[in-house]
Symmetry: C2
Subunit: 395 residues, 2 copies
């Protein structure tokens, strides 16, 4: 039996463990309310276009065509529609033959890591980061090199990134808007990062791919924007998921997009196809592929998330907590009032509050609160948060 | 860049290459008819229950629940329903907590291989076999040991299997009904194989898992049956897909089932969960999980496949070709009239006929004809097959 696999199965991600704990607690009932802020499972329904497109596809498409295998990269018409949409939105050239539809962003990342990385290669991740990055990168045989973003706003630390790059660095992975901080990489940061990477590529003499994990791309508030690395840096690979923008996380639909200006773009794309094949992927779910053209540019309503964001940030900071002001995604990154975030969770649990300690995200001393819940759940939880703050003597 | 991944992407499976070739040829049009027998893509629509269940789910289920993440192993109610159905059908105990819903059979196999195998382990496959087995097993670091089934009917060669087992053997993989031969492992064969494996387990001192790849389980003709290894051998793991039985190959839904009597069943199951996680799987597509309880025990109509099978086998043997009489699945395994099956394909192509040479299935000198097409396509192709037979002077 493979002990690494067993370990990954026996000790599941902290997020998933807490999610299961919350599920059990709620099923038990009785012992007081549970305020479950553990999982990034959208609480807002998909845009109306999604349900309409699903019904239309099922009612009007010949079923063997609708549910049959597509080519491994995905239905060509769907890939063309996505490429056209991206090209129009970001003003960059997008080649549909370098776009590969995947079983969600996790599959996209795994395929890209499998294509780029060989054992011994180094992959730079910006902490705090989505914990599964480490699982996927390790599976690809890479050494994970963490560079912590700069508190308090968790912007990129370009100096430290520069220091971390070696001749073994094969890629840098970043996630904006960020899970778990809600930070967004600005145009200025992206331009500076691109300059740095270009200079380092010359120094090390090989491509350093910038892998952008963008499932939260459209979840952005206050009229801000999420700039695309495609417009800044040639050696860019996008990993995307419709999980959050269309509230379809369980359906597993996303893509890899290789920039047409990337070094060895076609070979890299072949590597993505080959890695996905070796990981057991055949094609992205066919029905959900086919509804995408009708849903491009649509986004689940952000109103609830935005109201939750403001209400939670406002209330918690008024109780004396310190938090990163979230500019995108649907997470609030709260500073733990004691050094040990897991101890903080233990005390929060006594108030029925569940969130995720930041340790598994690669930084200590914070917790992630997923506010993709109903507005009522936010409101109902506030007295418990206030009591928790009082317990710590925060206000 | 990872050269293994690139190689897997640049040189895709022969089946997929031919499928793409056929697609292009058809799109071009003009130069005569194309009789495409390359891909196992069901030509028969799903049972009516599938479409009804899809519409009902979309119309009546709250969309964030319908499309949200499920637990990694799949919706508990769905797993319970599948376990109950299997238990009733095969008269064996089935534990829903040892059932893991997957993104199709390819994901199921990949997860099982990742759970069981460590680099250096040996995995026995029965040739001819589905070519992707080799890709998945190699990804898991295993050495693939081929044991060829006995011509002309491609039954198991127990003597050779016994000789192939060493103290490095971790699993034996078999596929019944078989792709590409249509052979079905009988009760007698399964009982004898189980006896052999049990004896060998004692000899080598560790479990030898019997992995049954069963996507064609319900595609069986002439009132025959497909016995379940669950009833014969304790260390059994089932990999299943609804792709063929419900005509949903593009939707990617299947499962792994670990026998409750398997050695270290719980640890093995944890390994499956962990391996799937490291391969980038999060959950099986949610909507298709949820329609399964309403579709269990239903099977796409086998009438067309059965008529195609009889017509094709009858006609081709009457033209002088030799073929394995297919007892299950939807493939006819035809002996190449010349030693080189690829040369045979080249001559068939000139008649507009496309099928898959057997070399990538691990045996030379045959071709696989996927007869999961319309009856008209079978009929229209017969004059071309007759001309091909005449070219070889077969009758």
């Amino acid at each position: 039996m493979n002990e690494v696999a067993r370990e990954h199965g026996a000790h599941r991600s902290v997020i998933r463990e807490l999610f299961e704990y919350a599920r059990e607690k709620k099923a038990e009932g009785g012992a007081g309310a549970i305020y479950d802020f553990t999982l990034g499972n959208p609480s807002v329904p998909p845009p109306a276009e999604v349900t309409a497109a699903l019904l239309r596809a099922i009612e009007t498409t010949e079923p063997t065509a609708l549910h049959g295998y597509t080519t491994a990269a995905g239905d060509p018409a769907v890939r063309r529609a996505i490429a056209d949409d991206l090209s129009a939105r970001y003003g960059v050239e997008v080649d549909p033959t370098l776009l590969y539809l995947t079983v969600g962003a996790a599959a996209a990342l795994s395929a890209v890591f499998g294509a780029v990385l060989s054992p011994g290669d180094e992959a730079i991740v910006i902490s705090p980061y989505f914990p599964e990055y480490r699982v996927f990168l390790s599976h690809a045989g890479a050494t994970v090199v963490e560079v912590t973003a700069k508190a308090p706003d968790f912007s990129l630390d370009l100096e430290k990134i520069g220091e971390a790059i070696t001749d073994k660095t094969a890629l840098l992975l970043y996630n904006s808007p960020n899970n778990p901080t809600g930070a967004v990489v600005s145009r200025e940061e992206l331009a500076a990062l691109s300059d740095l990477l270009r200079a380092k590529e010359k120094e090390v003499g090989h491509p350093i791919y910038l892998v952008a994990d963008e499932p939260y791309r459209e979840l952005i508030y206050d009229g801000e924007e999420v700039p695309s690395p495609l417009a800044y840096y040639d050696d860019t690979v996008i990993c995307y998921s419709f999980s959050k923008s269309l509230s379809l996380p369980g359906e597993r639909i996303g893509y890899v997009l290789v920039s047409p200006r990337a070094a060895e773009a076609k070979a890299l794309y072949e590597g993505v196809m080959g890695a996905a094949r070796a990981l057991g992927y055949v094609c992205a779910p066919s029905l959900f592929q086919k509804i995408l053209p009708a849903c491009l540019g649509k986004v689940s309503s952000l109103e609830t998330y935005d109201r939750n964001r403001k209400k939670l940030y406002g209330a918690l900071t008024s109780y004396g907590f310190t938090a990163v002001y979230p500019r995108g995604a649907f997470y609030l990154f709260l500073k733990s009032p004691e050094a040990d975030a897991t101890a903080f969770l233990a005390r929060a649990k006594a108030h029925g509050i569940l969130f995720v300690p930041s340790d598994s995200f690669g930084v200590p001393g914070y917790v992630r609160i997923a506010y993709c819940v109903s507005e009522k759940e936010i409101e109902d939880s506030l007295p418990a948060f206030r009591a928790l703050a009082e317990e710590y003597g925060l206000n």
